[in-house]
């Protein structure tokens, strides 16, 4: 294993401008420094992050056209050959990262200052265009929750009609599906990909139709096997992010929406709360375990990525910082490069923040 990344020495290396509305998803591709980000309009842009910090701000190289609405999640297959995207347009798409371009277009990258106020040139820039390799249908509403198995062979996606679909990822075929009572808000696959933790919501206010649940489902049968909904910390909560520790013993869930943004570490066997972590000023959007489960990365509605020690919930580092006030922007998503030298965040203010990890 590579040396443990030192998040305390993270510095903002690049703010990648993109006149995009909200940047809603981000991922590094395979083992490369290629970075993909999606926006609220359904576009996906690719950048090549420089070898080290301090170089010229990179410009995008390619735009992936196909989605027609908000890109909600991006995943890279481990081999870096396929990018997987999900969207509010009810589809999942595969993008061949080895494919050539299908033309080019001029894009506006910046007409306003970046969130960090650093001067960024007002730019229009030519990018290559690419269409998707494959489109997976089957959902009938926004796809908000998705997870990819560690070996990249299984994909589980959930939508706002409560449909959860298990996909053979390489083949792009539906294996099975099940129905939730609420909307799928977060999904996390166990390390062996046999169980899926699914957090549900129906975000009604003052109405008995409000729904909140956290349940474990057998991915091979589509049957619910455990219900953690009434466990301490889980009752009535809408969890917007979930992740399973590499040893399968811990399930991390983060309060979503405009909540207090707490993170709970649950015993994955019983659902009992093991640790409560302060989390974020508002809802949590993404969680990821690192270092064999000793560390947990989180990001959410306060434009910060935080690093937590799972044994005691102690905060070890904060990357980025809350902008404060009532109107504060979010980091929708984060991604750590395979070499652990770069940490990227999808900034709602219309940019991709790339931090150099110490």
């Amino acid at each position: 294993m590579a040396d443990a990344p030192n998040f305390e020495k993270c510095t903002l290396a690049y703010t990648l401008p993109w006149e995009a509305g909200w940047v809603t998803a981000v991922t590094f591709i395979g083992a490369s420094r290629k970075l993909a980000a999606g926006n609220e309009h359904g576009q996906i842009m690719l950048w090549e992050v420089p070898e080290k910090a301090g170089e010229t701000v990179p410009l995008p190289t390619r735009r992936l056209d196909g989605h027609t609405n908000y890109v909600s999640r991006l995943f890279s297959a481990a081999d870096g050959k396929t990018l997987i995207s999900t969207s509010y347009d009810h589809s999942l798409r595969y993008w061949d990262m080895t494919a050539g371009s299908k033309g080019e277009d001029s894009v506006v990258l910046q007409t306003k200052k970046a969130p960090n106020k650093e001067p960024v040139p007002t730019l229009t820039h030519k990018v290559e265009l690419q269409a998707s390799e494959k489109t997976l249908g089957g959902h009938k509403d926004w796809i908000q929750a998705t997870d990819l198995s560690a070996d990249g062979n299984l994909l589980v996606s959930g939508d706002d009609k409560g449909n959860v679909i298990v996909w053979d990822r390489p083949a792009g075929t539906e294996l099975r599906r099940w129905q939730l009572k609420g909307w799928a808000f977060a999904i996390a696959l166990s390390p062996d990909a046999k169980l899926a933790a699914v957090a549900e919501r129906i975000p009604l206010i003052f109405d008995s139709g409000r729904q909140a649940a956290l349940r474990l489902w057998d991915v091979t049968t589509g049957q619910m096997v455990k219900d953690f909904s009434n466990q301490q910390g889980a009752k009535g909560e809408h969890f917007g992010a979930a992740a399973w520790s590499p040893d399968g013993k811990l399930l991390a869930v983060g309060q979503g929406n405009e909540s207090s943004g707490k993170i709970y570490l649950l015993d994955a066997a019983t659902g009992k709360k093991v640790q409560e972590i302060a989390g974020h000023l508002s809802g949590v959007n993404e969680l990821r375990f690192l270092e064999e489960g000793k560390l947990l990365l989180s990001t959410g509605r306060d434009t910060a990525i935080r690093v937590w020690q799972t044994s005691d919930g102690k905060k070890l580092a904060e990357v980025g910082k809350p902008r404060g006030g009532q109107f504060k922007d979010w980091y929708h998503a984060m991604s750590l490069s395979a070499d652990r030298k770069w940490l990227a965040a999808a900034d709602m203010a219309g940019a991709v923040a790339v931090f150099a990890v110490g």
Binding site: Y88, F206, G209, F327, A349
Partner: protein, 422 residues
Amino acid sequence: MNPLCPVREHVSRRAFLKASLSVGGAAVANWGGLFNSASLAAEAKKQGMRCILMWMNGGASQIDTFDMKPGRPTGGPFRPISSKVAGTQVCEYLPKLAQQTDKLAIIRSMVTSEPDHPGGITSMHIGYRPEVSIAHPELGAVIAKYHGKPDSDLPTFIRMGPAGNGGPGFLGPEYQPFSIGRDGRLPPFSDAYATAESEKRRSDLLKLVEDGFTQENKADPYGAHRLAKEKAWRLLKSKGIFDVTKDWPKAKERYGDSEFGRGCFLARKLVEADVPFVEVGHDNYDSHADNFVCHKANMNQLDPAWSSLLIDLQERGLLEKTLVVWMGEVGRTPYINNRAGRDHYIRAWTIVLAGAGVKGGLTYGETDIDGKTVKDKPVTEGDLFATIYSALGISPRTKHMVGTRPITVAPERSVAVADILS
């Protein structure tokens, strides 16, 4: 004297003196209707008009429902769908209602005066900007007055869930709203704790005692108390109408399994039973954050309830006598804030009418390309209320004396939207 109009609504020497001596109108506010036209009220009652107000508490977003701006920065993630009326598009999360747009008059050009909740709730229930000196009656109280049957055992102004805050105002306690739970259930205290015979004996005894008391002690509150008691006893006789337990399992398949759906179903039953005004509140549209998930969740309840209500009213021949109003206290900003929310907006928003007295299948007014301003045919809250009253056969110029001031049911300068009226 017309038996339908209470004595106090006619001019008497005593009332005239009281009004003349009053320093402010509020001092004799409950002496409303002193100069009201009795013949007008009688005429309106003959028509048997009714109104159901679907109140979108907190303020629903016009751009995410009926005035969509796809592809614009203000558009948001919802997509429009075609409807039964060519050229009229509605949100993709209103698919059932899209098949009922031939019944809808969509006003896309509301320009109102109260940007926040308390003032907005009041003004969108009374048709006026809130005033300290005059307690204007709510829409429900006015309709109860002009279309309520005095001999009915049922209340004439019923509301459930989040609703108005104006009350009967100067029309007096006779038109006080009767509030029930958001799911349409009566409060527990409505259960009688004695037999019907025993209740009647108690009522008669109380009346005897109170009649003697009020002979010696003249004051409005005593009358109001007596009136409330009598209304309660009469309601006990007919409370079965509120129990939809038997019908609901089947009805919820169409109205949707929600409190709002159940409320709309009960509203239909109540107007069938001649209740002239029912308000059904739907919480909560005040989406300063997470506007889109909030609206999606609400529209999932709104769509089956509203569309089924319109279908049922039409099938029963009630739609031509029942005006269904969809509105809240404010619209929401075209601009999407960085909490994925929309804030309050009163410069260009949407209200929908259907049924009695209005044309269906039309949109009225227009906003600009981003929905920020009204391009054409602005409609104020006063104009809206003038339109609603006109549709229900009540002249917007109907006056009530408040102190020495004649007050019209809709503001003096308001204009009913003739293009909408059938």
